[in-house]
Symmetry: C2
Subunit: 514 residues, 2 copies
Amino acid sequence: MSADRRNDKGMFEAAEVGQKISKAEFDRSAAELRIQLLQSQQALRSAAFPLIVVVAGVDGGGKSETVKVLNEWLDPRHISTHAYASPSQEERERPEFWRYWRDLPAAGSIGVFLSSWYSTPILDRVHRRSGRSKFEYRLRRIADFEKALADDGALIVKLWFHLSRKAQKQRLKTLESDPTQRWRVSDRDWRHYELYERFVEAAERAIMQTSTAAASWCIIEGADPRYRNLTAMRQLHSALEQRFEQERRQRPTVAVDTTLSPEIPTDRESQHSNGQRTILSALDLELDINKKAYNSALAKQVARLDGLFRRARQQSLGTIVLFEGWDAAGKGGAIRRLLSGLDPRDYQVIPIAKPSDEEAAHHYLWRFWRHLPRSGRLTIFDRSWYGRVLVERVEGFARQAEWRRAFAEINDFEDQLVQHGLVVAKFWLQISKDEQLRRFEERAQTPFKAWKLTDEDWRNREKWEAYELAVNEMVERTSTHDAPWTLVEANSKRYARVKVVRTVCDALATRLGD
Amino acid sequence: MSADRRNDKGMFEAAEVGQKISKAEFDRSAAELRIQLLQSQQALRSAAFPLIVVVAGVDGGGKSETVKVLNEWLDPRHISTHAYASPSQEERERPEFWRYWRDLPAAGSIGVFLSSWYSTPILDRVHRRSGRSKFEYRLRRIADFEKALADDGALIVKLWFHLSRKAQKQRLKTLESDPTQRWRVSDRDWRHYELYERFVEAAERAIMQTSTAAASWCIIEGADPRYRNLTAMRQLHSALEQRFEQERRQRPTVAVDTTLSPEIPTDRESQHSNGQRTILSALDLELDINKKAYNSALAKQVARLDGLFRRARQQSLGTIVLFEGWDAAGKGGAIRRLLSGLDPRDYQVIPIAKPSDEEAAHHYLWRFWRHLPRSGRLTIFDRSWYGRVLVERVEGFARQAEWRRAFAEINDFEDQLVQHGLVVAKFWLQISKDEQLRRFEERAQTPFKAWKLTDEDWRNREKWEAYELAVNEMVERTSTHDAPWTLVEANSKRYARVKVVRTVCDALATRLGD
């Protein structure tokens, strides 16, 4: 950015021209717009997506007043408004975005976010608590977050209320002179005013880096309340109507997009199915361990885990272990062994099956964010977010575009876990098709295990090859340095169990600096 | 309790006899019991109720070890284990039982509670932080809590692990001498040991007052791990099997219980339907206010509420306002006026319709506990827990026994809200049957209001008299000093809105000491 550029108004120029609307014009336009907005909100109620409204801008720009108008005009029963102060203890124990995920609106409803995910990054930059590159990094994270939501269908409207330096001063003075409004102005507001230039610079950068096709900013001059409110409401209305219109027009295109992947194998997939050596096929499923060695190795690793985990607890280190694998691969047994030395107060097992209806009304990662462990705890996912690129992909529950972008979304999600300090261990339990058949038959014949075997297991088995392709691609695309996959040779349950417990121990030991 | 009584062992006598089980006997019994327990757990998975296991007892009694065994024997994927330390900030901002409600298991699963709702009351008594009557009061609250859960179907098993004073000392010494176990013994444990007599006294009282038919205590000698674990597991197994057996036998009885109330009117109800003067019929629905007076009165009350609410926020005073009323009685409009002066960041509106599937798998009050406001905030319930004694009663979604006991459950729930310091305002919006018809027809004819009118509204209208009976009984039974009903004459929307806002103001003003 050149010095010249700094001197002019940049992207905010258009929002300092003194836009005003007369009361007569406002009343005329508002009456009609209000009914239209109510109708849009009503249409949204039965839509399959939520509306996310981010409201930000300079102090005194009228953010909370406009949000108030929004709640007055629309039916407030289906709007939730959120603002964030310093994180609570429970929030601090999770990754930064946990609290925002918690509050995301369900399909059909409206979530309004004030002092949202933009607030801390911008203020940290203004007060020079973070440098330029940290700031850029956080902005990228925000863009990724919003992209994931928008890709999932969320309609995102971002309103930035701007005031010129002069207008901000005037606004603060006016508020202060009104005894009923004076409380709105704090010392903090005046301190921010002193930092106006820095604030505008950081805001400009934030807006530039996060104005994406899916979630673009609308900059609104905040000085005149009538202009500001009417413009904001028009923006919301047109965003909703555009979206409805787009859905009406795009229906045929969406249908094409629902094609299941196994029917259009990519080059990579064709290779796999041509019997080439793949990640899974390279595993030596003959690996075994005799009973005596198993007992002693398992006991040793379980005791080791107990000690490591206690140290992890003391250091407030949280752990996530997830299990994926073929039906009957032995996930349940491995989980039981893994937990056998631990105190049940310290862990939680989350079995992942069909989402509840609340979960289904949110982004598919929402249900996992819900269950992130507090510091010093362990959460086991028995099946996980990888369902998106496994069962949902193969069974066609997710469209191709959905599961394809899931690789990046998942890497981003896990990156946030790791950045927050969590230890992440991911296991794929691999058995051969023959071994699975043997286990199915054994289950069918053992009365007290028969319930474990369902028709679905047999159906899934028929799609073995499609699943194999999906697993190989999953491992290739989501095995990262900090959250690597461990492929477990599980034809021998004993071998698999020891490997699982040892791997978790090693991951903890590494993190603890052993 | 006589001095003699104090000298003997009281209810714990049987748990100090030195029960032991040999390893051979344990192995023999355990092998079989384990399979049986797994089968019971499997049967539970598809049952309509949860299993709640409370584990308590003297320090060193083996609580956490047995919970560990429980998690090893059973499938840990459907067990959640909870222990509670000092409440977090988020927990402190809600009534004491909020955190326990949050963690209650859903139907089909098992929740294990260590250092649960018994822990603080007993320890407060031991350390003389609470007197005898406070202690008794808290025990009654616990008994009510467990009764409400059991009445709703939860199976509650409470295990108390006892050690004699001598055995406790021995146990602590043994743990300390084992380098791998030493960490289990804290100074706190030794301090508790010093207070053994007091602890046993408080425990005895707690067990006596909370051993109800629905949730009785099982006292188990804790000294020998094999005896303790086997006895605990047997207890769980037999409780589950008894319950399954009972359900098989009781099916016909349950069918009788599903009779809808309107078909067997009580004396009270017959009176009402005989056209006698009732609470509702006594309202003067002609009350009205002209437009000018309305505008000025509403503006005044809205401004008053703004000021009062800001003070409430400063004083961390939370508020709950709930609305019930006939279809088209004007709840939405009243809510909008009530909120019009407030900052949307400070309130949340919870519209109550059909429960989500997670909500349906819990006690009917669970979904309301979820949404209790933090300190200084306002939560509006648009319809509420009173659905139990209104729509669920009239439509037969709740059995007679269920809605009959709901009056006490609701009073208890609201008492907890009030005790915690929340201001609770409850509104019934009353309109005449003719006025409802007029509004339905108006809605049907106004294009942008037509969506508000559903077939269900017409169907509900046909049951006007049954609803009237239910409303009268609800108000009579649940209008308490601290959480009174306000009946709002709502044939005039203007009159109703002003009355609602004024009533909330008055409630806040009273609490703020104006």
